[in-house]
Amino acid sequence: MSNEKHHIVPYRVYALVLVALLALTFASIGIVSIELGKYTVAAALIFATIKSFLVLTYFMHLKYDKPYIKAMVAFVFAIFFVVIVITFLDYLYRT
């Protein structure tokens, strides 16, 4: 369907995203070498979340996709999060 021709992403965008991703990778390696105690895990995961967000938005073209595809992706991540939370309702409160 050539009438649904989608947006051509310029090279510059990809290059910038890659630079950001690499910077975040090294930043996350850096931050866990500082002793943050129990926040280390949280810090590493926050960096990973930002990175995955960049990959989803730019590399996987979600930014240029129709809203319903974005909604489906968000829904799947949300439901996975809910499942983890519910599973932990068990493990957090074991005696």
Partner: protein, 206 residues
């Protein structure tokens, strides 16, 4: 038969194949999601042991592999742009680079696993059972299962990319019908996405 192929041609729907791929990616995410649930529960139950065991892993190799995957993700993303700009040669070149990086990743992984096995650490090994605590056994079990399954996905991804490259070469994947290449790209980014989480969970947390 000829007629049939023709009607199928008319039914070509890039958006349908795109959401089909996305839906498949959802199942892959939940496939790994199951493993992430297992990981997070056991990590919660054995915090100290996971800490100790993660020290055994080589952060440098992990970081190199992360960089490799990120770069390869970019090259395949750029290749979809070059295809739309009708630069076939450049597209094939970028896909070639992606495949080579993927193979280098696997070679790295091979040496990494090999080093672990040389130290007597593999699932069910005597050394693992006698010298390590239960939490560490769980950690290494998950390490092998999750990175192994991820490596399997890399191999599948490479096959898909090679297939797409072949179709680009023949010209059946072109600027008007780019869905196959874009879906190969989506799959490769998925592999990248999972690694983005595997890397901190196994290599960084110590």
């Amino acid at each position: 038969m000829e007629q049939h192929a023709h009607t199928q041609h008319d039914h070509f729907d890039a958006e349908a194949s795109k959401i089909g791929m996305w839906l498949f990616i959802f199942t892959e995410l939940l496939l790994f999601g199951g493993l992430f649930i297992v990981y997070s529960v056991y990590r919660f139950m054995n915090q100290e042991a996971f800490h100790l065991a993660a020290v055994e892993l080589n952060t440098t190799i992990g970081a190199i592999n992360t960089v490799l995957l990120l770069v390869s993700s970019m090259t395949i993303a750029v290749s979809t742009t070059t295809l739309q700009l009708k630069k076939k040669g450049l597209t094939l070149f970028l896909l070639g680079i992606t495949v080579i990086i993927g193979i280098v990743f696997l070679v790295n992984k091979y040496f990494e696993w090999g080093a672990k096995i040389d130290h007597g650490i593999w699932p069910g090994s005597e050394h693992l059972k006698t010298a390590f605590s239960q939490g560490e056994i769980l950690f290494f079990g998950l390490y092998y299962v999750m990175t192994g399954l991820h490596a399997l996905h890399i191999i599948i991804g490479l096959i898909i990319i090679l297939f797409a490259a072949h179709r680009v070469y023949k010209g059946t994947v072109n600027e008007n019908r780019a869905a196959l290449l874009e879906n190969a790209g989506l799959y490769w980014h998925l592999v990248d996405l999972i690694w983005i989480f595997l890397f901190p969970l196994f290599y960084l947390i110590h």
